[in-house]
Symmetry: C2
Subunit: 361 residues, 2 copies
């Protein structure tokens, strides 16, 4: 220090910024050096007390931590990051479109990251993402693949940025082949299929249909085989591949309803399709759930607002957040290791569009 070195070690106040301008005398944030001197220890000791690494006596650490609060010292994150080389931040890659599924992930991710004192940075796609990664601003990247099964765009992005020091997690509907520095978290869609099949059959349904979005590859087979196992196999013509919009769902349902023998229950691959199915039923004066049961998937915000409120399958976004974060840290801890995809279970949410078929009781 340039001056004031005569201050005894017991001094308890921190030197104040030298700006004596007209502005209120705001103490500039103290540096570790100033703080250490103020409490009579070395910067190293302070550092060790904070980072919990290195050996410090418990009482010293205690003391340092207390006086930190007292004097309001907080380490400068940038300095820490510069010297440790870790950013304590992970990026969530987000295109300009606001996919509700992706958005729904944010709180869970943030929470999970927070446990590790990590931050969540929202970044754009393409060059932007690359810039953040190249500048060492993030220790990991999570990308959400198309919400449609089978689309591999997410992996492309992952491959373009993943490296030993910056692993990448892809959230998809289908498991990825393990690749170095790339982790895969998937929704347990086959599990959804099994759960729904059981629930419907248990209610007494035997004629069960399916309205799928493109490439419902992993869900439909599981759904069908469980149905068969339970003695209620699905007729081929009841398994429809529609699009993703409510209009697609409406068309599909209308077709199903026009069949000589139509299903008493229908599982729609997503809630929007289900809403369309609901609409088709209403237009044809088929009562839901009395004459037709409908179950959706994803539990989007509007599912509880349909009429009647839509039974559906919830994707636990907090669980996804946790899975993503633990896998990310595994990848960070053991770079180069190939980890198998981690799958997150879904959960049935029973509302009012499913009941026993008429005449089953």
């Amino acid at each position: 220090m340039k001056s004031g070195d005569s201050t005894p070690k017991t001094q308890t106040s921190i030197p104040v910024g030298q700006e004596s301008s007209g502005i209120p005398n705001l103490p500039k944030a103290p540096t570790i050096k100033q703080f250490a001197q103020a409490i009579g220890v070395s910067p190293t000791t302070v550092s060790r007390s904070i980072t919990r690494r290195g050996r410090v006596s418990d009482e010293t650490r205690q003391m340092v931590l207390e006086r930190m609060k007292e004097l309001g010292y907080t380490p400068n994150l940038h300095a820490q990051r510069l010297v440790t080389g870790r950013a304590n931040t992970v990026a969530l890659c987000m295109g300009p479109t606001s996919d509700p599924f992706l958005m729904g992930l944010i709180p869970g991710l943030q929470q999970a990251l927070q446990e590790y004192d990590y931050g969540l940075l929202i970044v754009g796609t393409g060059d932007l993402l690359k810039r953040w990664v190249d500048s060492r601003a993030v220790d990991g990247v999570v990308v959400v693949g198309g919400h449609v099964d089978g689309v591999q765009a997410g992996v492309e992005v992952a491959r373009s940025v993943a490296r030993p020091s910056v692993p990448c997690i892809v959230i998809e509907n289908l498991p990825l082949n393990p690749e170095p520095h790339i982790g895969s978290v998937i929704i347990d869609l086959p599990g959804s299929g099994v759960q729904v099949a059981r629930a419907l059959v248990e209610k007494g349904h035997r004629r069960i249909g399916f309205i799928g979005s493109p490439y419902s590859q992993s869900l439909l087979p599981a759904f069908q085989s469980e149905l068969k196992r339970l003695g209620a196999p699905m007729l081929k013509k009841w398994a429809l591949m529609a699009g993703t919009t409510s209009d697609d769902g409406e068309n599909a349902m209308t077709y199903l309803l026009s069949l000589p023998t139509s299903p008493t229950a229908v599982f729609a691959r997503n809630d929007e399709l289900a809403v369309g199915a609901l609409r088709a039923a209403r237009k044809r004066r088929v009562r839901v759930p009395e004459e037709l049961s409908i179950i959706g998937h994803d539990d989007l915000a509007f599912a509880r607002l349909t009429e009647p409120p839509l039974s559906t399958v919830r994707i636990d976004s907090d669980a996804i957040g946790k899975a993503v974060v633990t896998l990310l840290f595994d990848l960070l801890d053991q770079p180069g290791t190939l980890f198998p995809a981690r799958s997150v279970a879904t959960e049935l949410v029973a509302r009012a569009t499913v009941q026993a078929p008429s005449g089953s009781d």
Copy 2:
């Protein structure tokens, strides 16, 4: 450098990390020093070329920039931040609950920030937020007040962290009294009221009701006075203060429908209330929009999925993002200045729940 100093200045490759382990020989990211030497200039020149500050000849800058891409040099963000003292990041404060309104803001904010090369960090509330701010991790904070008018919780948060170097923007439904280092961005709710009043009256409605959430302070008066101005004043008993859920909306609408002379059109303060109103109408076999027009507010994701699709008022979240960011930078550029609240216009979105009242033509 420890070795290889005999390399001539014309050397065009960057030294490679010294880790000769079994791992692939990944070149460690070059430092400015290495890069500068590789292209035969000083670190200073490189720095100046990048930051656009300081004087460099145009041709030198050009050259440096080109070779940067060529050799893949990207400055270390942490070092930059440490020395400049700016984090190039703003925090979006988010509680554990995932308010759809708040979530909808994220893409717009991210986009707007991106223009300035700023990042968007998602942070929790309370101590967490304070920790991020204290550690100089962010240059600004944006908090979203309760989505209910009049709630002042957002300001409290803002006050607890705002400082000259870290201004805070509060997004609320009511303007804030200007405070140092705190900016206010508001939705133009009075504007919404006026727009809806005009639209409804133009269609021919004269009996117009309102279903409000608690404290619709800024919207209702504007709505009422515009209605009066247009010669279609609202009866007191047609202005209801409900809650925020669809059930509240249903109850309110049911009541309105039970009146001896009930409104031919109803404006609901939010889409969820409107959905409830829709439900009430259906239950009482009142056809929408033939016998009753309904218009909501906020244009949530499900608004286009109701039956019929809900006419509503959209809040332009991109515009909010822009407003927030420009105000934030104004605050950053002129610390201490008191800026008036900035208001963002809303926009009518006509779908299928509004039409001329029966017998008006």
